[in-house]
Symmetry: C2
Subunit: 160 residues, 2 copies
DNA sequence: ACTTGCGCTGGAGTGCGCTCCAGCTCCTAG
DNA sequence: CTAGGAGCTGGAGCGCACTCCAGCGCAAGT
């Protein structure tokens, strides 16, 4: 993890890499990288004399940021909004912060939901483990219910 | 396909509710509920004499479980696998546990990733806040870099 | 000079997971 | 008896986010 990003005058072209390497380093497919650019999720990437893309370290950083936003479920349209605020301007900085804060809040909600859902799955596992341990299959379980007059633990838990 | 889980006549029909109420209680649309059933993500739901669906409390519990699995990103095909193991059988209990454990493990990974990504977004916010506080726009920031010889915090953080 | 390989573009195609709809049946209220 | 409303079915349609492809250009190796 040695990413000494040196950005001195000439570095942006010296350290620039081709699309293949960016793909390998990010895990995004080459097609996806091109698609993101066309779709306005990335700024226009520099080209070499042969017309091929050359990703500067800064550009790669940008790609990674977009990757994080997408991976966390930000819709393409919103990423585009974020990107198209451009790279300059105090006012735009404020808009960007607002957008990111909204997203961060959504993420917190999703994390809470995910924790709860994970617990539900775990409980479900425990429930089946219990049935197995007791050598009980579902029909036997149903019979138990009729006697006890309530639903199995798992079903109760997931009910409102 | 009649693998309907029949509980003692009394409890299942007494507390059963219509599709509208299930929709309201779960937040899944009526269309989605029907689609899930057709797609094999739910067992066949009991019908009233008029042919309408009557969801027993047990069925509703099942719906909620499927909802959790879907919400946590389990693909429809896998939920179907889970469901089609049927409601009976010790061996099937084992398969279900295996499936759920795999899913739970995936969830843990996703939670870790999500935490990391959330931190990245937070750092990005902090970065822009800093720029604003210092009254610096991005072009000025780039100039700074040339002098300092390093990239903005945000870009560094998101690099591998 | 030619072949091999990578990358380019614009556009078509794909997979997933719903969502919408037409045309029907059944109940209930007036 | 009629009208309205909910629910039913099978199937078509849709939005999203890629993914694939044909046909081309450049550049290095043989």
């Amino acid at each position: 993890m040695h990413n000494v990003v040196r950005v001195s005058a000439s570095s942006s072209s010296r350290d620039a890499v081709g699309i293949r390497e960016v793909s390998e380093r990010t895990g995004l497919s080459i097609d996806t990288l091109r698609w993101y650019e066309r779709a306005g999720l990335l700024p226009d990437i520099d080209r070499g004399t042969d017309g091929r893309r050359r990703y500067s370290p800064l550009a790669i950083g940008f790609v990674r940021l977009v990757q994080v936003l997408r991976r966390t479920g930000m819709p393409v349209a919103e990423v585009r909004k974020f990107v198209q605020l451009g790279t300059v301007g105090l006012e735009h900085h404020r808009s960007r912060v607002a957008l990111l804060e909204e997203h961060a809040a959504a993420l917190e909600e999703r994390m809470a939901q995910l924790r709860a859902d994970h617990a539900t799955v775990q409980a479900e596992i425990a429930h089946y483990r219990d049935l197995i341990a007791r050598g009980v299959d579902f029909s036997a379980e149903l019979a138990e219910q009729d006697v006890r007059g309530d639903a199995p633990a798992a079903w109760r838990r997931v009910s409102s």
